[in-house]
């Protein structure tokens, strides 16, 4: 099956390591990713606050381009790693399906650009693809450096699981846990894993946004996590890049690596630092997989 890949604005900028590591891991798994040609902004959060119809039109242009590139004779799977894009595109996908008024206006806009969308498209998150399209044994077979003894806090954030995703549970998603257990790591129990990180508020109203990120980090640290795995560029940015600011603001030293789940998966698969964009981290990942020297490992379940 061929997959198309929709990067979104962040994966070309602050979230570059997400793109790099995802492409590397997916190539290893045997899923080459072809980037959607001339993709545009999904119309998410900030854009939708101004005009919803135009936001749907932005999404629809991506859908039309994806269908064209993927081939009209079959359903195209569009892989969307950024949580905000995943939500924005999923929402447009659903609304264009359910509300004929919106659909006819958006179709009119598409026609003005000579484009056409014919509902033959699926919006997929890379987590969904790794858990549901890749066989467990295949994933396990790629592990060259099991993440033994590593305690991972799996952070989903809000917009991947809510409100449209169907591939996982909204209250207690398990996709990432499943992946990391296969890769040999331990996953900690951390019930606030779908609580909001503050989103863009960390930049716009820091006294409000930073507190949300801080609570997540504090709780993960107290529960013994060695690192946090994320699946969203904004979550990764908030949880990692503001750590020095939080430490001084709340008088509590916060120092924990925050990686993309694809980076951590890549480490287990023996991929290189540059391939995974690990050099772009502010808080370096200190774990070096060395099975013989690791202290843990006894809790690993497959």
């Amino acid at each position: 099956m061929a997959y198309l890949y929709y990067p979104g604005c962040s994966l070309k900028s602050t979230g570059r390591a997400y793109e790099e590591s995802m492409r590397a891991v997916f190539a290893k798994v045997g899923i080459p990713l072809e980037e959607l040609e001339d993709w545009n902004c999904c119309g998410a959060t900030s854009y939708m606050s101004i005009s919803e119809l135009k936001a749907f039109a932005l999404s629809a242009r991506n859908f039309a381009l994806a269908e064209k590139q993927g081939g009209r004779d079959k359903t195209t799977d569009l892989i969307v790693p950024c949580a905000a894009c995943y939500l924005g595109l999923s929402k447009a996908h659903k609304y264009l399906d359910e509300f004929p008024d919106i659909r006819s206006k958006v179709d009119e806009a598409l026609a003005a650009a000579g484009l056409k969308y014919s509902n033959n498209l699926k919006i997929r998150h890379p987590l969904d693809v790794l858990v549901n399209d890749v066989k467990k044994d295949r994933l396990a077979g790629l592990v060259t450096q099991p993440l033994k003894g590593l305690k991972v806090a799996c952070y989903y954030g809000c917009q991947i699981v809510r409100p449209y995703a169907e591939f996982d549970n909204q209250d207690s998603p398990q996709s990432m846990e499943k992946i990391f257990r296969i890769l040999g790591a331990e996953t900690i129990d951390w019930p606030i894993k779908t609580r909001c990180c503050g989103g863009s508020l960390s930049g716009t109203v820091p006294e409000v946004g930073l507190r949300l990120s801080y609570l997540l980090l504090l709780e993960a640290t107290r529960r013994g996590a060695d690192c946090i795995a994320t699946a969203c560029p904004l979550c990764q940015f908030n949880l990692e890049c503001y750590q020095p600011k939080m430490s001084s603001k709340y008088n509590e030293k916060i120092d924990i690596p925050v990686l993309y789940f694809t980076q951590l998966a890549g480490i287990a698969m023996g991929l290189g630092e540059k391939e995974l964009g690990l050099q772009r981290l502010f808080v370096p990942m200190r774990y070096t997989p060395a099975p013989a020297a690791s202290s843990g490992g006894q809790h690993v379940t497959k």
Binding site: N40, C41, G43, S49, E52, A109, C158, L201, G203
Partner: protein, 209 residues
């Protein structure tokens, strides 16, 4: 943090806008607004409730009662991070997050939004960047935001910006799609369209901000 806090005003019925709720409820699937039982689950789920001028439950009640001016000029809607915790837990399946969006859009359209509040400034900066180029350029949107809200803050953030640049995570280059003309033709079709129906009657507000 308390500077935008204000207790709900007492209003006479004649000062309220009886059309406001209908207007907000005109968004797709918005009619469930009228089934709210004021249980407060939304406010309980909302991670931003403690920082809002009105909690989500209050906002819903105020919309239904016709507190047009207070809702549209509130900071609550702009503090909503769109995490959908309220929406998925609402026992009446009210699309609370979408109602927050509807209020934001209506406020922008009527120019009564809190104009200097950074989240609303960010939304407008992001919007114009995408309208023009089809993509947002993170560095430029952020600079635009800081210049309009907190120029001194930008100096304090310069260290972070520099670090991001050194790590290859932020650059000055402008992001754009190739066929912007295609996009502009599409958006032009929708220029005059709104999903929220226009106001029917003139509201009888006693005062205007």
């Amino acid at each position: 943090m308390d500077k935008w806090r204000e207790w709900p005003k007492i209003r006479y019925e004649s000062e309220l806008d009886p059309d406001f709720a209908d207007q907000i409820a005109s968004i797709p699937g918005g009619e469930k607004l009228f089934t709210c039982i004021q249980c407060g689950t939304c406010s309980g789920m909302c991670p931003l409730s403690p920082d809002m001028d009105y909690t989500p439950r209050q906002i819903i009640a105020m919309i239904r009662a016709g507190f047009r001016q207070e809702v549209l000029s509130s900071h609550t809607t702009w503090l909503c991070a769109s995490c959908y915790a309220c929406t998925v837990e609402c026992p009446k399946e009210i699309k609370i997050t979408e109602i927050m969006y509807a209020a934001k859009r209506l406020a922008i359209r009527e120019k009564v939004h809190p104009k200097r509040f950074p989240p609303s400034v960010l939304a407008r900066a992001f919007f114009s960047s995408v309208e023009k180029n089809g993509r947002s350029t993170e560095s430029r949107v952020l600079i635009d935001l800081f210049l309009k809200t907190n120029p001194l803050g930008m100096i304090r953030q310069a260290g972070l910006g520099m670090k991001l640049w050194l790590k290859g995570r932020l650059g000055p280059g402008k992001e754009s799609i190739k066929r912007t003309d295609e996009l502009h033709r599409m958006l032009a079709v929708l220029e005059k369209e709104h999903m929220i129906k226009p106001k029917v009657k003139t509201a009888q507000h006693g005062e205007a901000k």
